[in-house]
C-alpha cells in the first residue's frame, strides 16, 4: 500500500493531517527551505555543466522530496551510503556544497566528509554500497550504538547481486540498516517494468522476512514520516519511494530517446516542491516574498561556492599519491618525483 500524506495539489490526506499536527513549525519550514534550495542547487549544477564549469552531472530534479524527506529524518551519528544521485541528501545533512561541486569537477577533495560526519563518498558502481551499509550497521550494533545505516540506491540497483546479498545479510543478522530505494522509473533508458518482473521493489522484502514500506516519493511528509518510523525500529527495513527524475539521467543523456513528453508532463504535475509549497502557503507559514528573498540568498551562496571551486590548484604530485596507502611506499617515490618533474617544467598543463 502506497503511503501518501500530501496530494499533488497540496491537500493533506487524513493520515497527512494527523502527521502535520505532530510537526513543529521549525520542521515544517526546514523542509520547505531544503526543498527549494536543493532544487536551486541542482538547476545551478546543470547550468554550470552546460557552461563547462563542472563535468558530467546527474540531476535530481523531481526526486527532491525523497531525498530531503529521508535525510531530514536522520541523525548526525547515522551512516549514510549515497549513490551518485544524492545531492539532496548531501545538502540536507549539511555536506558543504563546495564538496559536492568539487566531486562533480573531478576533484577528489570533494569526497572528504566534514569532521564528525559518517557520509560516505558517492558510489558509482551500482548497488555496491549496500553490503557496506550492512557492515556499518553491524559495527553499530556490536558497539551498542543506537544509530542506523542508510543506503541510497535506484530501482536499477535492485537487479544487481549486491542488493540481494545485502538484504539477506541484514536480515540474517537483524541489523539496523535502511535500504532506501528511489524508484524513479528508469535505470538510464530501461523502465522498471523491464528491469523487474515483480511489480514493486518493496515486495522483495518479504523474501528476506524484512519490513518494507512503499511511499509516495514526491511527498516530503510521507517520506519523512516513514523514514522516522523505520529508523526507530533499529531493524532492517526496505523502503521504496516512488518518484521520477524529470531531467535526463545525466547531462550526457538524451531522455527523449526512451520516454514520451506526455509521461514527463504527468510527473511534472506531481511535482514534490509545488505541492509542499502550496501546503505551506495555504497554512500561512510563509509568503511568496519571503521565499523569493531566501532564494536570492541561496543563489548567492551557491555562486560563492562555485567560484571557490574554480580557484582549484591541482595538488601535484601529492594529489595522485597521498592516501593511496597510509604512507607512500618507497617504490612509489620515483613515480612521485617523475610527476613533480613534469609539473615543474610546466609540461603538465592544468
Amino acid at each position: 500500500m502506497l503511503i501518501n500524506h500530501l496530494l499533488p495539489c497540496g491537500a493533506l490526506t487524513d493520515d497527512g493531517a494527523s502527521f502535520w499536527l505532530t510537526l513543529r513549525e521549525q520542521e515544517k519550514l526546514d523542509l520547505l527551505r531544503l526543498l527549494r534550495s536543493v532544487r536551486l542547487f541542482d538547476r545551478r549544477m546543470v547550468l554550470w555543466q552546460r557552461q563547462g564549469k563542472i563535468g558530467t552531472y546527474a540531476p535530481i530534479e523531481g526526486q527532491e522530496a525523497a531525498q530531503v524527506g529521508s535525510a531530514y529524518a536522520l541523525d548526525k551519528t547515522d551512516w549514510i551510503f549515497p549513490s551518485y544521485r544524492e545531492q539532496g541528501v548531501a545538502y540536507t545533512v549539511g555536506i558543504p556544497m563546495t564538496s559536492v561541486i568539487q566531486y562533480w569537477s573531478g576533484q577528489i577533495e570533494g569526497c572528504k566528509p566534514p569532521a564528525g560526519y559518517r557520509y560516505v563518498p558517492p558510489t558509482v558502481p551500482i548497488a555496491t554500497q549496500l553490503p557496506q551499509a550492512v557492515g556499518a550497521a553491524w559495527a553499530m550494533k556490536k558497539r551498542g550504538e543506537t544509530g542506523i545505516a542508510i543506503a541510497y540506491f535506484g530501482d536499477g540497483a535492485t537487479s544487481e547481486g549486491d542488493f540481494h546479498e545485502a538484504l539477506n545479510f541484514a536480515s540474517v543478522y537483524d541489523l539496523p540498516v535502511l535500504f532506501f530505494c528511489q524508484n524513479n522509473g528508469y535505470a538510464i533508458s530501461v523502465p522498471f517494468s523491464e528491469q523487474s518482473a515483480s511489480k514493486t521493489v518493496a515486495e522483495r522484502a518479504a523474501a528476506y522476512d524484512m519490513d518494507a514500506y512503499q511511499v509516495d516519493g514526491n511527498d516530503v511528509l510521507a517520506v519523512y514520516d516513514v523514514v522516522k518510523t523505520a529508523r526507530g525500529k533499529q531493524r532492517p527495513v526496505l523502503i521504496e519511494a516512488i518518484t521520477y527524475r524529470t531531467g535526463a539521467h545525466t547531462t550526457a543523456d538524451d531522455a527523449s530517446r526512451y520516454r514520451s513528453e506526455e509521461e514527463v508532463r504527468i510527473w511534472l504535475n506531481r511535482d514534490p516542491l509545488y505541492r509542499y509549497e502550496q501546503l505551506c502557503l495555504s497554512e500561512g507559514l510563509l509568503d511568496e516574498d519571503e521565499l523569493i528573498q531566501e532564494d536570492g540568498q541561496v543563489t548567492k551562496q551557491l555562486d560563492r561556492a562555485i567560484r571557490e571551486v574554480e580557484k582549484y590548484q591541482p595538488n601535484l604530485p601529492m594529489g595522485l599519491f597521498q592516501h593511496v596507502y597510509h604512507q607512500i611506499p618507497e617504490c612509489l617515490k620515483k613515480q612521485q618525483e617523475e610527476v613533480a618533474s613534469y609539473a615543474d617544467n610546466g609540461s603538465i598543463h592544468c
Binding site: 563535468g55 573531478g106 558502481p125 550526457a252 526512451y258 601535484l316 593511496v324 613515480q335 609540461s347
Partner: protein
C-alpha cells in the same frame, strides 16, 4: 566515412545480418542505442528478441551469455564501461574462459564481450580505468583492442567468428575523434596479429588503443630530433603476437612500451619480460615503460598528470637513444 563508434555499430549490424544465432545483450543497448550509440539503430532493425536490453546486472548478462553460447547462440555483450565489468568477473574468469577446457571441447564458450575503456575524456569517477591486465592474466580468454574505425570493424567481426571468448576493449577516447573509410560489407582482420603501422630504425614504440595516436604524435616530435621510430599496434593483447614485436626490436635495439594502465603488472611488464628473455642480445639500452602510475585512476582534474603524454614518451626515447 565512419567514426569508431559508428563502425562498431556497423560491425554488429553486419554480424546480426550474417548469422541468425548472433544476439546482442547489454544495458541500454536497445531503445537507447547504447549510452555511446554503439548499437544505434540495431534494436529497430532486428527487434528486441535479438537486441536485448537486460536488467542492470553484469553477472547476469555474462553468465547468461555463457549459457546462451552453450545452447547454440553467439552473444555479443556490451558492458557499459570496463570498470563495471567487475560484478561479472567471477563468470568471466571462472567460467567463460574455462568452459571449453572443463567440458573438454564439448560446450561452446564463444562470445564477444565489448567494453569501452580508458581515460582522457574528463569522465566521472570509475569511468576511465584500464584494467586489461586482469583479463590478459586469464588463460582461455582473448583480449583485443582496436585503434581506428577501420580496424575496429574488421577486428570485431574477427572476434565474432572466433570460437574462443573475446574481450573487445574499445578506447573511449577514440570513439569520435577520427573518421575514416570503412567498407560497408563484411570483412575480417586477424585478431591474433600485431601490426607495424610505421617502419623505423632507432626505437620501437609499442602500444595499443588510444595510445596509438599518441605514439604517432610523439613520432613527429622524434623526427624533428632525427630519431626514426617504428610503431607497433599490439591489437591482440592476449594471446600476444610476440614475433612481430621481437622482429622489430631486434632491428631497432630499443623498445618503449606505452599504456594507460598502472605500470605494475601491466601488459607492458609482460612485453618487457619477453623481450628480455628473447632478444636481450639485440638491445642497445634498457626496455622502457611509459605507463599510468601505481595509483587508482584519478578523478578527472588530475588525469592529465596521470596519463602517458608525448612529453613522457619523448623523454623515455631520449634516455634510450643517449644511453651509455
Amino acid at each position: 566515412m565512419l567514426t569508431m563508434v559508428q563502425s562498431i555499430a556497423d560491425a554488429q549490424r553486419v554480424a546480426l545480418e550474417a548469422d541468425e544465432s548472433v544476439l546482442l545483450l547489454g544495458e541500454d543497448i536497445g531503445k537507447n542505442g547504447g549510452v555511446f550509440r554503439a548499437t544505434e539503430g540495431l534494436w529497430k532493425q532486428f527487434g528486441s528478441e535479438r537486441v536485448i536490453d537486460t536488467p542492470l546486472s553484469e553477472a547476469g548478462i555474462v553468465g547468461s551469455a555463457l549459457g546462451l553460447a552453450m545452447g547454440g547462440f553467439k552473444p555479443i555483450v556490451e558492458i557499459q564501461f570496463l570498470s563495471f565489468i567487475t560484478p561479472a568477473f567471477e563468470q568471466i574468469v571462472s567460467h567463460v574462459a574455462r568452459m571449453r577446457l572443463r567440458s573438454q571441447g564439448t560446450f561452446s564458450n564463444s562470445m564477444v564481450i565489448r567494453a569501452p575503456y580508458g581515460g582522457g575524456i574528463g569522465a566521472p569517477e570509475l569511468h576511465s580505468d584500464s584494467t586489461e591486465a586482469y583479463f590478459v592474466h586469464t588463460p582461455g580468454l582473448r583480449v583485443v583492442v582496436p585503434s581506428s574505425p577501420f580496424t575496429a570493424k574488421g577486428l570485431l567481426l574477427g572476434a565474432v567468428e572466433c570460437p574462443d571468448p573475446v574481450l573487445f576493449l574499445e578506447p573511449l577516447r577514440l570513439y569520435r575523434t577520427q573518421k575514416e573509410e570503412v567498407p560497408a560489407d563484411h570483412y575480417i582482420l586477424p585478431i591474433d596479429r600485431a601490426k607495424v603501422i610505421k617502419q623505423g630504425e632507432d626505437v620501437t614504440l609499442i602500444g595499443w588503443g588510444a595510445m596509438i595516436s599518441l605514439l604517432k604524435e610523439a613520432d613527429q616530435l622524434l623526427l624533428e630530433q632525427d630519431i626514426s621510430a617504428e610503431i607497433i599496434d599490439v591489437q591482440s593483447l592476449s594471446p600476444i603476437d610476440e614475433v612481430t614485436i621481437f622482429e622489430s626490436v631486434k632491428k631497432t635495439g630499443r623498445a618503449v612500451i606505452v599504456h594507460e594502465a598502472p605500470r605494475t603488472c601491466g601488459v607492458g611488464a609482460e612485453i618487457a619480460a619477453r623481450l628480455s628473455e628473447e632478444v636481450i642480445d639485440s638491445l642497445e639500452a634498457p626496455i622502457k615503460r611509459v605507463a599510468g602510475y601505481d595509483v587508482p585512476y584519478p578523478l578527472f582534474a588530475l588525469e592529465h598528470a596521470y596519463l602517458p603524454s608525448t612529453d613522457k614518451i619523448v623523454r623515455a626515447v631520449m634516455e634510450l637513444v643517449y644511453f651509455q
